[in-house]
């Protein structure tokens, strides 16, 4: 892993969140780069991590200084940074997908257990609860499928964005905002293409409809339970 790749790693998120809470006036000059506009946040409670972050930033700046040709239309440093950024984005999408599946699996398991019939005195109560559990399972599965599709769309968008940045065509991107705007345009256009397919409309409707079903069943269950307790009063 290069310093640049490491720079965009998990340390960035941790330390950046801390840095954002500080007034910019408290940020410190990077040693060796006094004339540069770069500043780093001072160490707080988490000093070791921040020191590590500062070291990474320093190394990153050194990498930049070594690679920069000091002018011209193309910045060699950006040709290192942007692929690293894209790689990080791709990893984040992968993590999102993994997290989605990891979080859903035990939940599905619990709900499926609740839908199984049982014997004994609690059978009827369980049977009523199983109806709610089945509706909950259907809704969770539908939401999971829609979110998985969103992950796929994100991957497609990332591929398109990578292609856009690798292309010599189109207007130059002259700022970070420009880069961000290009990503938003790319992602929303990809989403729109996919959302306009029949398959997406079916998944969307399933998510809404199973939600309606769950709410309706829950209301019925809640009402029946309330009636039951009222009768006992």
């Amino acid at each position: 892993m290069t310093a640049v790749e490491d720079f965009f790693g998990a340390e960035l998120l941790r330390t950046w969140l801390h840095a954002l809470t500080l007034p910019s006036g408290e940020w410190q000059v990077l040693p060796g780069f006094e004339k540069s506009p770069w500043r780093v946040a001072p160490p707080a409670a988490d000093g070791a991590q921040l020191a590590q972050f500062a070291a990474l930033l320093h190394e990153f700046a050194m990498t930049y200084a070594a690679r920069s040709d000091g002018g011209g239309e193309e910045s060699p440093a950006m040709s290192v940074v942007v692929p690293a950024l894209l790689k990080q984005l791709a990893q984040q999408v992968g993590l999102l997908r993994t997290a989605l599946n990891d979080a859903a699996a035990p939940f599905f398991q619990i709900l499926e257990t609740q839908t199984q019939p049982i014997l004994g005195p609690a059978r009827e109560t369980h049977r009523r609860w199983a109806v709610v559990a089945r509706a909950g399972l259907a809704h969770t599965r539908a939401l999971h499928a829609l979110q998985a599709t969103h992950c796929e769309i994100l991957e497609l968008a990332l591929g398109r964005f990578t292609g856009l940045l690798g292309s010599a065509e189109g207007p130059a991107i002259t700022s970070a905002r420009g880069l961000y705007n290009a990503w938003v345009g790319c992602a929303d256009a990809t989403y729109r293409e996919q959302a306009l397919t029949a398959g997406y409309a079916t998944q969307f409707a399933a998510a809404v409809d199973t939600g309606s079903g769950l709410r309706q069943i829950w209301r019925t269950w809640h009402s029946a339970t309330a009636d039951q307790f009222a009768a006992r009063d």
Binding site: S24, E73, A77, S79, G170, I173, Y180, V184, D188, F204
Partner: protein
Amino acid sequence: MPQITFSLDDLAREATDYARQSARAQQRLAAWRDEEPQHAHRHVVLTRGKLQLYHYAARTGARAATPLLLVYSLVNRPYVLDLAPAHSVIEDLCARGQEVYLLDWGYPDREDLRHTLADYIAHDLDACVEVVRARHRLAQVNLLGVCQGGTFCLCYAALYGTKIKNLVTVATPVDFHTANDLLSHLLRQVDSAALVAAYGNLAGDFLNALFIAQKPLQFAHQKYINFVARADDEAASTLFLALERWIFDSPALAGAAFREFTEGCYQGNGLALGTLQVGGQTIHLQDLQMPVLNVIARDDHLVPPAASRALRGLVGTIDYTELELPAGHIGIFISAQARATLVEVVVNWLAARDSQAAAPQQPAKKRPRKRPRSADSA
């Protein structure tokens, strides 16, 4: 990667600027008075349940002969037409001699669950038309509908054409099955009966989620980045915050009307196909014999231009005018240039027809009914 021309130094400067603008944006937000804009020049002339009808008097000596009734969508509040003195379509219309009436549907609640399209169109809207007719002692009024309000006006004018002198529709969906209509596409397979049975009235948050789903990154993220980037511009920030407040000031939709509109328009495309029912009466757009001005927002993300343009081939009138403005669904009222053009065209178009002697109402000419040429219904 020849396209990227900024350096890390540029990036650092940009980040520093952004941090400063972010602090400024927070100040703007903290100082913002989060309340509905004041409307100094209006007064209530009708209250009917949640509905209120406001009158804005003309502010010039040369007044238009026929008053203009504005009908907004059930979704969001109508005050986007009078957002602030410098961003008010209504103020601009009044300054050009129009006697303006604005229908505000209000916030439906539990007791409106069974409010149908017929209640909104044949009863509420008709009550407003009657009040305006009575106040001005006129047989006919001018009607201007926006978005879904335009669809309501088309239905009303098809049913009660004798009461309407001229009809203006702005950003109004007519053919709900055009190729790029994402909102319609997302609703096409949704079981609206189950949705209403489960939730009752449809919460504004549900509708907002649908609207954000049109361009998720732009509407949920990028526009806030843009707000920060423009935080130094007080006028732009104030306008953004006013619009942001308006966007999420979202009334619920009455359950019965939502179901009818979803099934009849988004799913059945009944307005274009001539099958939409309002209170048991079928809406035939060829029954529209009055002059019609159809204003289309070229960059509309909610109502694709083709969805509005379909009106041309469906109305019965021979006096049909179409205007396409380079603006979005809301920008058509907010952008200074688009608003100025909109007001100019509407006022002149109405004036040209107001100067003509009122002709006795002709019975509707029955024309062969056409099916709209849309991708999905073809």
